[in-house]
Amino acid sequence: MDIQTYYLLVPLAPLCGAIAAGLFGKWLGRKMSHRITIAMVGVAFYSAVQIFLDVMNGHQFTGPVYTWLVSGDTSFHVGFLIDRLTVTMMLVVTSVSLMVHIYTIGYMSEDPGYQRFFSYISLFTFSMLMLVMSDNFMQLFFGWEAVGLVSYLLIGFWYDRPTAIYANLKAFLVNRVGDFGFILGIALVLMVFGTLDYAAVFAKAAAHASDAAPIAGMSVNLLTAICILLFVGAMGKSAQFPLHVWLPDSMEGPTPISALIHAATMVTAGIFMVARMSPMFELSDTALSFVMVIGAITALFMGFLGIIQNDIKRVIAYSTLSQLGYMTVALGVSAYPVAIFHLMTHAFFKALLFLGAGSVIIGMHHDQDIRNMGGLRKYMPITWITSLIGSLALIGTPFFAGFYSKDSIIEAVGMSHLAGSSFAYFSVVAGVFVTAFYSFRMYFLVFHGEERFGKAHAADHHDDHAHADDHHADAHDDHHGDAHDDHAHHHGLAPGQKPHETPWVVWLPLVLLAIPSAIVGYIAIEPMLFGGYFKDAIYISEHHEVMAELHEEFHGAFAMAMHSFTSLPFWLALAGVASSAFFYLKRPDIPAAIQKRFQWIYTVLENKYYFDRFNDWFYAGGARGASTFLSKYADRFLIDGMIVNGSANMVGKISGVVRKVQSGYIYHYAFTMIVGVFILLTIRNWFA
């Protein structure tokens, strides 16, 4: 087949699957729906592999598919840019998506919205592929918003849960705040370059490096402004501080999509975008510093929040935030290949961890509280081993995938000389300990220690905000006898009930994802980071020699792992694992004591640094307040009441007065006339 046909097949096959399952799911039935969508994603994956092989042979492609719009003398089109960066993303997206599709058969087997779910995840796959394959900013924005839409639909998939429909609206709106910056960035690109095509823009970027224009009375470097505005979009999509608030709440969605969308692919769109725009970001040190500092804040401070979460999915969600921060830091220090490398390894091990968590959740009959678990390794061996592999990869154990990418980030940050890089270095190093601590806290609480399931739920269980709301939703459902009761029923195992390993459709993807989580780093680090893999897909300026320095330090994947045993991050990670083992296996009384002693820290962390409270009060409350005020007083009272109806009333009153004058009596008129004549004569005499 012609290679260009494959280009079209990659996004369009999942789209066809989505349409089939979405519009005709009722006729197709469950089995046909999942068969079609899985087959279509399989086609996309196969095509992506073909394209990958072609690209590795040195082929590239950039060109339009069709012209979307022509305005003035600018034409906007839909087109593909196929290079090594694109094809890497295509492989990650289609392969993880395929795993998640298979997994969904098991996870959603009892859900009445089965076909709808398959339709959504296929639609997501299409959107994400349009995003990464785009050759222009307009289509990038299309994919960007389309993945946001599907994310919205999927977070709110169980639409009778109040928490879910709160979370999806929040996610969409917070993302829209990012997109607000993003579209302004795109508009600035069009203004400065006169085109939205990547190739043309990147070619001209250097020539516009010092363009400046007055904005708000200051002379602003336009390229810096463009980069920062585009990055604001990335902050929304990739959940960077302070637009991170939507991601933990997005865990209200079914677990397969937490893996696919909120860990492996969609949230990395921002990382991909910045790497794609490297020819522009490289020209602005200010923008790079900004990117790095935001990433560093996210990497460290979101990790802290992971420590105190008790919902298995929320722990992983905060871990995702923190890891996205790592990727962002890597972007900031111009180590774009490292960021993409971490994106790839993270996609595998984080998808694995989420799907593993989903498997645990199935085993626990939809109880997500890790305090009610423990000792599951006996009952769910495959889930246990694969989750262990995922956790080891996440904390950066030498030889595992996460080690190579994360260690490279840490080293790259250490070599950077940008403003703020010392803070970033501190954050990413300290983050290693935090990551190890929360990851293994969760791991030990779930798979080791005392078996706490099947008992009556702890009293403090109901303090948990999310769960409290869940129960609220349950009450409603039971009341109405709704069709969704299989998910809304009381969570957890009954006393005496034991968890079981999940069916093969669930554990097979775990195994398939565990393999790359273990080995992909070892295999890929050398070609991907130092073998000139990305070629000209990523541009790095000569002033930012971090990648070159990394290359000098690098003496092979094996040596890198061996060397790490003497390095600080390794010992920090080990310390993290050891202390969590001590705290949560040996002496569970200590965390409780610490919590009591340092109550205020705990309170701050539990309230997630009060961001949600502040946003709810200031932005949401402020907008509602302003809206009520403007609607009531400005629109209804001032404009409509005073001016419109007021002038109508005025006309009414004046006509009332005038009507009295027109009494119909001759002597009234005669009298008025005489008075008038006198007045006129008087005036005339004055002026004469």
Binding site: W68, T74, F141, E145, I165, L184, L190, M191, H480, I643
Partner: protein, 496 residues
Amino acid sequence: MIFGLPVISVTIWLPIIFGILVLATGNDKNAPLARVLSLVGSVLGFLVTLPLYTGFDRTTSNMQFVELHDWITRFNIHYHLGVDGISMLFILLNSFFTVIVVLAGWQVIEKRVAQYMAAFLIMSGIINGVFGALDAILFYVFWEAMLIPMFIIIGIWGGPNRIYATIKFFLYTLLGSLLMLVSLIYLYNQSNGSFEILDFHQMAIPMSAQIYIFIAFFMAFAVKVPMFPVHTWLPDAHVEAPTGGSVVLAALMLKVGAYGFLRFSMPIAPDASHKLAGVMIALSMIAIIYIGLVALMQSDMKKLVAYSSISHMGFVTLGFFIFNAYGMEGALLQMISHGFVAGALFLCIGVLYDRVHSRQIADYGGVVHKMPVFAAFFMLFAMANSGLPGTSAFVGEFMVIMGAMKANFWFAFGAATTLIFGAAYTLWMYKRVIFGTISNHHVEELTDLNKREFFIMAILAIMVLAMGLYPMPFSEVLHASVNDLLIHVAHSKLPL
């Protein structure tokens, strides 16, 4: 030519003749006949507009399909019709929506069916006349005539507070129009006795006169758009109007105001347009931001969508007065798209209203459990209203933001806030109405879309998606005219 008859005349008079025929069917005993006849009339009315598109010459900005006959020779008034890229699509849009509206009222309207259908058919012809007229008096006649059927539609088939709404609607729009007549007469005198709009375009006019003319036209058009602060008639009119009335109001009535700016204000008084552009942009930004905020807390769905319409029309006027191709084409595309999206949203609300007889958001909740198909359509249109790429609404908003950035960073900044506000008010409403658990027994008793409703929704959904994914067929006919208008407006018309 259609069967030897000039196209634009047919698009105007065919619906009107059918309207009269429908009226002749008399009382509600013949309602089925009236319905069928009006459906035939509206479908034919739409079909006859198609040659305007297929036969349209995209390379020229000259008037096409021109018809010129004497009408009132004493005052040199002609029956002069013609379309260019700016007006042509609106005739199609209007005739398209006539079909939709007839279908939408099919079972819902049970009293005075013939009169209801006839009002819409006649109005359809009149609106086509507004877009087709090239003689100022002919335009004015259609412009004012347009009010009468709408007045009747709201006044007879409207809600409980319909009398207040109709009077307000009528007075508001009439007052604006009178000033337009004054300036048309002024232009007639200055042009040595011509009422040709195209002659007005070429006349040299001193600055002070241009400003008066601009303000007079502004009064007429701004009320129709409606622009802040003369917008308050629209929420009331929408709330009281029957579904069909709201659809035509949103999809077409608002567009004639914006069209007026392009056909009259800007080409006749270009210097004044430039001079007052700042004010126009400021009013547009207020519409986008302030009205967007006001929409957020509305408790009545129709009012919310009405405010959202005002906010979206702010994009249109913003696009006009930044004087660049992105902005102006974006604004025109936004006008067409807003027709589809706002029309569809009013139909969605109508579907709920027909079943529950309430427009209050608080009276709903959990509708998705009973009406999943409806919820899916409503989702699409809600997303379109939030400007999601891939839907028609994105095209216009995107282009206007691009154009605004070219003019000034802060224009784009203000316009882009719609990304947040638009999503906030639309999706919050959607959440409260559609999601959640079933809130009361009215919702419990809901039934999903019937075939007729499904058909209407499906057609609109296809249009919204088609225009969003491939706007080229819509935009390519605008080009020549927009480019020429921009060139025309860039040249001063002050007397030398």
